[in-house]
C-alpha cells in the first residue's frame, strides 16, 4: 500500500537509482542465478564447528563458555523434562514455579509438584519453552512465533529453559537460512523468528559484561532425544 505522495517519493528513488549508471539492466532469472551462486559452494567461507558430531559441537559451545550465561543438559525423553527443570530450579535456589509455553508437547508432561502458571510480567519468572531448531555453529536456538508461542515468553522471564530436539540441531547458520528460504517461497515465514544465542547482556558501561539487560539473565538449554 502506497499513498499518492509516497508514490512520488518511490518513483524519485527508483529513477535516481536507475539513472546512476551503476545498476545493471538484468533479467530477473539472471539476477536470481547470480544471487544463488553467491551462496553456494561457500563451505570454505565458514568458521569451523567445534566437533564433527553436530550435537557434540552444539553442546561444546555451552560447555566451553562460548555462549553468554547459558548452561546445557541432555535428556533422552520428553518425560524427563520436568525432572531436568526441577534440577535447574534447585541449583538456582528457586521455587517450583514456572510458566510453560502453551504447547501440548510441554503442557502434557507430568508437572506434578509444580505451579505452572507463573506471571512472567513479574521480573523473576522461569519459563519453559520449545525451540524449533538448534544451530551447532553458534549454539543458537531458533524460536518462532505462533498461536502457541508468545514471543514475549522468551524475553520477559528472568530464566529461560529452552528445549530443543537432538534431531533438529542443524550444523550451520546457512542450514537454517535454507529452511527460511523455502518458507519464503511458500509464504509460510512466521511473523517473528528469533535466533537466541545466550542470555541477554550488555557491555555498555565501561565495557564490563553484565547479564540481564533487558531479556533473561539465564538461559538453560535442554537437548532431548537419543
Amino acid at each position: 500500500m502506497t499513498t499518492e505522495s509516497n508514490s512520488k517519493q518511490r518513483t524519485a528513488i527508483f529513477d535516481a537509482i536507475r539513472s546512476s549508471g551503476l545498476t545493471v539492466e538484468c533479467d530477473e532469472e539472471d539476477i536470481r542465478r547470480e544471487a544463488a551462486e553467491l551462496v553456494t559452494g561457500v563451505a570454505d567461507a565458514r568458521p569451523p564447528l567445534l566437533a564433527d558430531d553436530i550435537v557434540e559441537a552444539f553442546r561444546m559451545r555451552f560447555d566451553n563458555g562460548l555462549v553468554v550465561g547459558t548452561t546445557c543438559v541432555e535428556i533422552t525423553e520428553f518425560r524427563d523434562l520436568p525432572g531436568a527443570v526441577s534440577q535447574y530450579l534447585e541449583r538456582h535456589g528457586l521455587p517450583a514455579l514456572v510458566k510453560i509455553q502453551p504447547l501440548d508437547n510441554l503442557t502434557g508432561l507430568d508437572w506434578a509438584g509444580f505451579s505452572t502458571d507463573a506471571d512472567v510480567e513479574l521480573d523473576d519468572s522461569v519459563a519453559v519453552l520449545m525451540a524449533e531448531f538448534g544451530i551447532a555453529e553458534t549454539g543458537s536456538v531458533v524460536v518462532c512465533s505462533s498461536a502457541s508461542m508468545p514471543v514475549l515468553l522468551n524475553f520477559l522471564p528472568l530464566h529461560a529453559i529452552v528445549v530443543v530436539e537432538r534431531s533438529r540441531i542443524l550444523p550451520f547458520l546457512d542450514d537454517y537460512a535454507a529452511i527460511a528460504g523455502e518458507m519464503a517461497g511458500d509464504s509460510t515465514t512466521p511473523r517473528n523468528v528469533s535466533l537466541i544465542t545466550g542470555a541477554s547482556g550488555t557491555t555498555d558501561i565501561e565495557g564490563v559484561l553484565v547479564k540481564g539487560a533487558h531479556g533473561p539473565k539465564f538461559l538453560h538449554v535442554v537437548v532431548v532425544g537419543r
Binding site: L22, C26, P47, D174, G185, S200, D204, I205, H214
Partner: protein, 475 residues
C-alpha cells in the same frame, strides 16, 4: 541530531584537551581491537568470508532497484505497510504521521543509527511524544542529552561515575550501589514497565530480506524484541542499502558484522520480523510499517561512492583509526564518526560543510584493512578531497600553495634549484643538527624538532661527484 562538522578544528581541540576522554575511548577501542583479532584467529576462512560478503553487497548495489521492488512486494504481501522517504524530513514526517494517527503517546526505540541520521529523536520530542530509548547506551545518552560517540557503543564517552549520577537523578527506583551490575539492574527495572506499556515501538534494521519482505535486527540485550512485540505498532526506519536477497545472504554478512564489531560470533538476539500479528499469533503488533529511506544514498551511487553503500555499520574502522582513537566520536560533528563517518558526513551534510573530515586522515589504510566488506575508505576520502578541490571549496591559501608546488614540481630543474635554496635556508635555523623553530614551520616545530638537512641536496652532491669523476660513494 544537530550536526556541526564545520566546527571540526574546534571540536578536535576540545577533545585533545580532555584526558578523561582518551581513557574512555581506549577502553572501548583497545577491547574491540583485541576481541576482533581473537575472533579472526578462530575463523581461518575469514578472508574468504570477507570476499563473499563484499560480492553479496556489490551484487545488491548493482541490482538495487530490483531488490527494493521485490522487498516491497513481499513485505506488502505479508501485511506490512511500506513507505518511501527521499530525505530525512520526509522520513520524520512519515513516522510522526503514523504515531499521530495511532494517537500513541509512549514510544519505545531500539538503537538505530539511521534513526539518528534522520533526526527522529528530536522530532519525537518536539512533537510531544514520550520517547523511551531502550538500548542501555542510548538510554544513558538520552538521560545525558548527548549525541552518540560511537556507532556500536554510543555512550562510550561516559564513565561509570557519570552513569551513577544520571541514574540517581532520573530513575524512579535507583540503586545506591556503584557496581556496574547493579546499575544495569536499575535500568532493567526502570525500562521494564515502559516496554510493556508503550504504544509504538520503533527500530532500525540491520538487514532487509528481499525474498520474504522480512526485517532483521541484531542486539545483545533483547531490547529490540521487547520494543517490537508488546506495542500495537512497530515502525522500522531503514536505509535502502540494507537490502540482501535472502536470509542465506544475510548470514555471511552477520558472521562478518558481529566479529568485526565486538569480536563475538553472533549477537545474543538475531530476530527476523515478517509482517504484523497474524490471526492465531499469541502476540505481536497489529500494524507493521517499514520506512525505506534514501537520504543521499542514491546520490552516492552516482558520485563514485557506491562502495560506501556496502557498509554494515560494524564500527571496526573507527576502532582501528589512529585519528579516532585520539579525538573520539563527537569531534567529527556528525551522526557517524571515524573513517566511515568521514565519508558519510560530507555526503549527508554537504561537502562544503564537512570537507575538513575528508582531510583529517593520514590515508594509512588500516580502516580498509579491517573493513569486513573491503570498503576502500582512503580512496573515497581522497576522492572527496578531489571533489572539494574541483568545486573550489578549498581555502585560497591552500589552493595557492598546492598550485605553486605543482608549478615547481613539474619543472624539475627549477624544483632542484628551489630545493637547494631551501637547504641553505633551513641550515640557518639549525642548531646541533636540529631545527626547533623556523618561519612557516610552526605546525611542525611547535611540538617536534626537524632534523636539519646536510650541506646540499642529493642531486647536487651526486652531480658534483659525477663531474669530478669520483666513484659513487658517500661524500
Amino acid at each position: 541530531m544537530q550536526t556541526n562538522p564545520e566546527r571540526f578544528k574546534e571540536n578536535v581541540a576540545e577533545a585533545l584537551a580532555n584526558p578523561g576522554l582518551k581513557v574512555a575511548i581506549r577502553r572501548t577501542t583497545d577491547r574491540a581491537e583485541s576481541k576482533r583479532a581473537a575472533a579472526i584467529q578462530n575463523f581461518p576462512n575469514f578472508e574468504q568470508a570477507r570476499e563473499q560478503g563484499t560480492r553479496i553487497k556489490d551484487h545488491v548495489i548493482r541490482h538495487l532497484d530490483h531488490y527494493l521492488a521485490r522487498f516491497e512486494r513481499n513485505a506488502v504481501a505479508s501485511g506490512a505497510v511500506v513507505h518511501w522517504a527521499v530525505d530525512a524530513a520526509q522520513a520524520r514526517d512519515i513516522v510522526l504521521d503514523i504515531c499521530r494517527r495511532r494517537k500513541g503517546r509512549r514510544v519505545t526505540r531500539a538503537k538505530s543509527m539511521l534513526g539518528e541520521e534522520i533526526g527522529l529523536a528530536q522530532a519525537l520530542d518536539d512533537a510531544g511524544f514520550e520517547r523511551v530509548e531502550t538500548d542501555l547506551a542510548e538510554h544513558i545518552i538520552q538521560l545525558a542529552g548527548d549525541p552518540p560517540s560511537h556507532i556500536v557503543w554510543p555512550s562510550m564517552h561516559r564513565t561509570r561515575e557519570d552513569v551513577v549520577r544520571l541514574f540517581r537523578e532520573h530513575h524512579r527506583n535507583p540503586t545506591d550501589s556503584v557496581d556496574i551490575a547493579d546499575l544495569v539492574d536499575s535500568a532493567r527495572r526502570e525500562l521494564r514497565g515502559k516496554f510493556l506499556s508503550a504504544d509504538i515501538g520503533i527500530t532500525g534494521a540491520n538487514f532487509l530480506l528481499a525474498d520474504s519482505g522480512s526485517v532483521c535486527t541484531v542486539t545483545n540485550e533483547g531490547n529490540a524484541e521487547l520494543t517490537t512485540t508488546p506495542t500495537d505498532v512497530h515502525i522500522v526506519t531503514a536505509g535502502i542499502e540494507k537490502l540482501v536477497p535472502s536470509m542465506a545472504h544475510a548470514m555471511p554478512l552477520l558472521r562478518l558484522l558481529v566479529r568485526s564489531a565486538t569480536g563475538g560470533e553472533i549477537t545474543q538476539y538475531t530476530t527476523f520480523y515478517t509482517g504484523p500479528k497474524r490471526r492465531g499469533d499469541a502476540d505481536g503488533p497489529g500494524e507493521f510499517h517499514i520506512v525505506l529511506v534514501d537520504n543521499g544514498r542514491t546520490r552516492m551511487l552516482s558520485q563514485g561512492m557506491a562502495e560506501m553503500l556496502r557498509c554494515i555499520r560494524c564500527g571496526a574502522c573507527m576502532n582501528h583509526c589512529v585519528v579516532y582513537k585520539h579525538i573520539g566520536g563527537h569531534a567529527y560533528g556528525g551522526v557517524y564518526p571515524g573513517p566511515m563517518g568521514s565519508v558519510l558526513t560530507p555526503n549527508l551534510d554537504g561537502l562544503q560543510r564537512a570537507r575538513k573530515l575528508a582531510h583529517a586522515c593520514t590515508l594509512n589504510g588500516r580502516c580498509q584493512e579491517v573493513c569486513p566488506v573491503q570498503i576502500p575508505l582512503p580512496k573515497l576520502l581522497r576522492a572527496l578531497r578531489a571533489s572539494s578541490w574541483e568545486k573550489k571549496y578549498e581555502p585560497p591559501v591552500n589552493r595557492q600553495a598546492v598550485r605553486g608546488f605543482v608549478q615547481l614540481a613539474r619543472r624539475p630543474r627549477l624544483f632542484q634549484w628551489f630545493s637547494s635554496l631551501g637547504v641553505l635556508g633551513m641550515r640557518l635555523f639549525s642548531r646541533g643538527g636540529w631545527i626547533s623553530s623556523m618561519p612557516f614551520a610552526s605546525g611542525w616545530t611547535a611540538c617536534r624538532d626537524l632534523p636539519a638537512p646536510g650541506k646540499a641536496t642529493f642531486m647536487s652532491l651526486y652531480s658534483q661527484q659525477r663531474k669530478s669523476g669520483n666513484g659513487i660513494d658517500q661524500p
